[in-house]
Amino acid sequence: MLSLRPMAALLALALMPAIAGAADEVSALRAELQALKNEYGARVDALEARIQQLEAAPAMPPSAPPPDTPAQKSSGGASAFNPAISLILGGSYTSTSRDPADWNIAGFPPSGGEVGPGERSFSLGESELTFAANIDPYFSGVLTAAITGDNEIEVEEAFVRTTALPDGFTGKVGRFFSGFGYLNEIHAHAWDFVDQPLAYQAMFGGQSRQDGVQLKWLAPTDLFIELGAEAGNSGYPATRDGSNGLDAATLFAHLGGDVGDNTSWRAGLSWIDSKAQDRAGGIADAFGTALFDSFTGNAHTWVVDGVLKWAPSPRRQLKVQGEYLHREESGEIADSLRVLLADDYRSTRSGWYLQSVYQFTPRWRMGARYDSLDSGTPHYTLAPDGLLSASPDRVSLMLDWNPSEFSRLRAQYDWDDARDDGDTDRILRLQYLYGIGAHGAHKY
């Protein structure tokens, strides 16, 4: 039993190559080894081999990183702390069977924003420029600016995020895509179709940005449970009212997990409270006569979202996602001369989409999406009789080819009944998306 001690000493020495350089010690060890060899046969052979290897190859000092790692090689000086920069180049060719200028979503007030099929023929999409870096041990910052085809620069997101809050909390301040639903936080270049579902276009002008604060909390459980709250000012359906108060508040909860090795899912429920003051844009009756021109009041929106991904092999994946948006608005409506028409206006509108994308080889994906909206009919004193509700819908098919992680070419064909007038708009879009610069990491 005692003879194990020199063994242990040997092992300890073998573990510390930093001192293995002392050649005389190694030779002393070799002598001891020789003595032990008779006793331990094969095991000692292995140890000797290890010592020889340490002698012969001092090239791998395990406890210290190599002196010339590329991270340290990178250009020093003022540029050493440059943020990660990435740029997305995108554009499309669009062909529509109807004039895109009269595109609208029947029964829904105009939401502004980037809605509709866009311009016919070739057009440059948004060039999305992102800068991101840690600020200090407590915060990181991100700026995403979109340079539009109309030569404007738009701040998509510009926020600071905490990195050191305890207990699963993360805070954000600045402008950011609101965390409700599934698609709202996802940048345009990562969408599975050229455009957003009609429900997002009708209810949030495509995507809802918040200028304000967000606090998220992740539960310390194996099941993914995330709760979030936001307060600030956002776009449609809210408007800035010029007061010191806020015009939008959002609450959301997401759950998620795995089923086996190949399937993952996430589901969520969100609630958005928006305030509008003299929000321009009303709806028209069946004859095209405007019922009102502006709205002042509250909008309460519920969003139910779900996504499921199934990856039977590293080269194939099926993704199914859907969301249901439901909005109730109540308040006052006025005509174009700001004359109050009713103070008991109420409307209920809803919309949903269901889409599925299948990656059938590493480079090819195909997808289908169905959009459906229900405008309901507004209720208010003196509302005209016989108002009809509109039910716009759309079917989209998509095929994309991804030569690498950084490039994508896509074709999408829509049968678009957003106008709900019985005349389907057939839309073909060919889109390209390329990314250069820092390797982006995508959200789920």
Binding site: L218, A219, I225, E405, A441
Partner: protein
């Protein structure tokens, strides 16, 4: 009321105790998971983010992983941008300050290694290259030994009171590993200089370790799948000097390798690549046993 309060406190204590009992570790690959288990024993509770049948370049920051990152005391990653497409998001979304890069609960295996194939020029026209060098380090057992040292230091830093425990386990592992390496290297000696066609750069460390002579790659450039015409050229190129083996990993698409195998009359060997990549590769020892066995059986 008092009783139920006492019960609640008891339950809370009981709930907290196991959490303190073991370090929660989130390992990005099965190999780092297996190594952490070897070194940490019962003091670590390891969750592995991926399986050997996944392509670790193309993993998603799925909710279950975010949830594991939230409560992890330690993230064990490869580094060198192998996990760049998903780990940063995971850490960002986790709301866990202990595992942020630079914090004590973040470990990169590559930090303990000298990587092969550090590109002298960075251009994505060259394919899926990693600026810090080839990150697929696990198929050289010397790398495993070096990472084991660094990881032991990390575990001891996280639990200074348990340093002796970790040191003892590290010693035991190191001895077993040295012995096993000797065994593998002795057995694999006949493989030295054997010409092989590889699938992707993720077999580079295996070739380097065993002295396999890599004559061609099925991927024309890293991460770029082969076209029919490229494979045709490859057959012509290899006609004069046919390789002895074609290597591919459990997670790879076997089709191009099988196709090439029939034309150049060399067997395509499916290697486990990671712990769990074959029934025999149950742990790190099994991974190398099986890799060496499969290579010897095929050549």
């Amino acid at each position: 009321m008092k009783n139920s309060l006492r019960l609640l406190v008891l339950l809370m204590v009981a709930g907290v105790l196991p959490a303190q009992a073991a370090l929660k570790v989130l390992a990005t690959t099965p190999d780092w998971g297996a190594l952490t288990t070897e070194l940490g024993g019962e003091r670590v509770n390891v969750y592995v983010a991926t399986t050997a049948l996944q392509d670790v370049h193309r993993v998603e920051a799925k909710p279950s992983l975010v949830a594991r990152a939230r409560s992890a005391d330690l993230v064990v990653a490869t580094g060198a941008e192998l996990e760049v497409g998903w780990l940063p998001v995971l850490i960002q979304e986790s709301g866990n300050s202990r595992i942020q890069p630079g914090a004590v609960g973040y470990f990169e295996a590559a930090s303990a290694l000298r990587l092969l194939e550090v590109p002298s020029k960075l251009d994505r026209a060259m394919g899926d290259i990693h600026p810090q060098g080839n990150p697929h380090v696990q198929l050289d057992p010397h790398n495993i030994a070096a990472v084991a040292h660094a990881l032991t230091a990390k575990l001891s830093a996280l639990e200074p009171a348990q340093a002796a425990y970790y040191a003892a386990r590290a010693q035991a592992f190191d001895a077993r590993w040295a012995e096993a390496m000797h065994r593998w290297e002795t057995r694999a000696a006949p493989l030295k200089g054997v010409s092989v066609v590889i699938m992707h750069r993720d077999q580079a460390y295996l070739c380097h370790w065993l002295g396999l002579n890599e004559v061609a790659s099925i991927e024309p450039k890293p991460g770029v799948p082969p076209t029919a015409s490229y494979l045709g050229q490859l057959v012509t190129k290899l006609a004069g000097t046919p390789p002895k083996l074609i290597l591919l990993n459990a997670y790879n698409d076997a089709k191009p390798a099988k196709w090439l195998s029939e034309r150049v009359h060399a067997p395509a060997v499916v290697l486990p690549f990671s712990v769990g990549g074959s029934p025999e590769a149950k742990d790190l020892f099994g991974l190398f046993d099986d890799t060496v066995n499969k290579l010897l059986a095929a050549q």
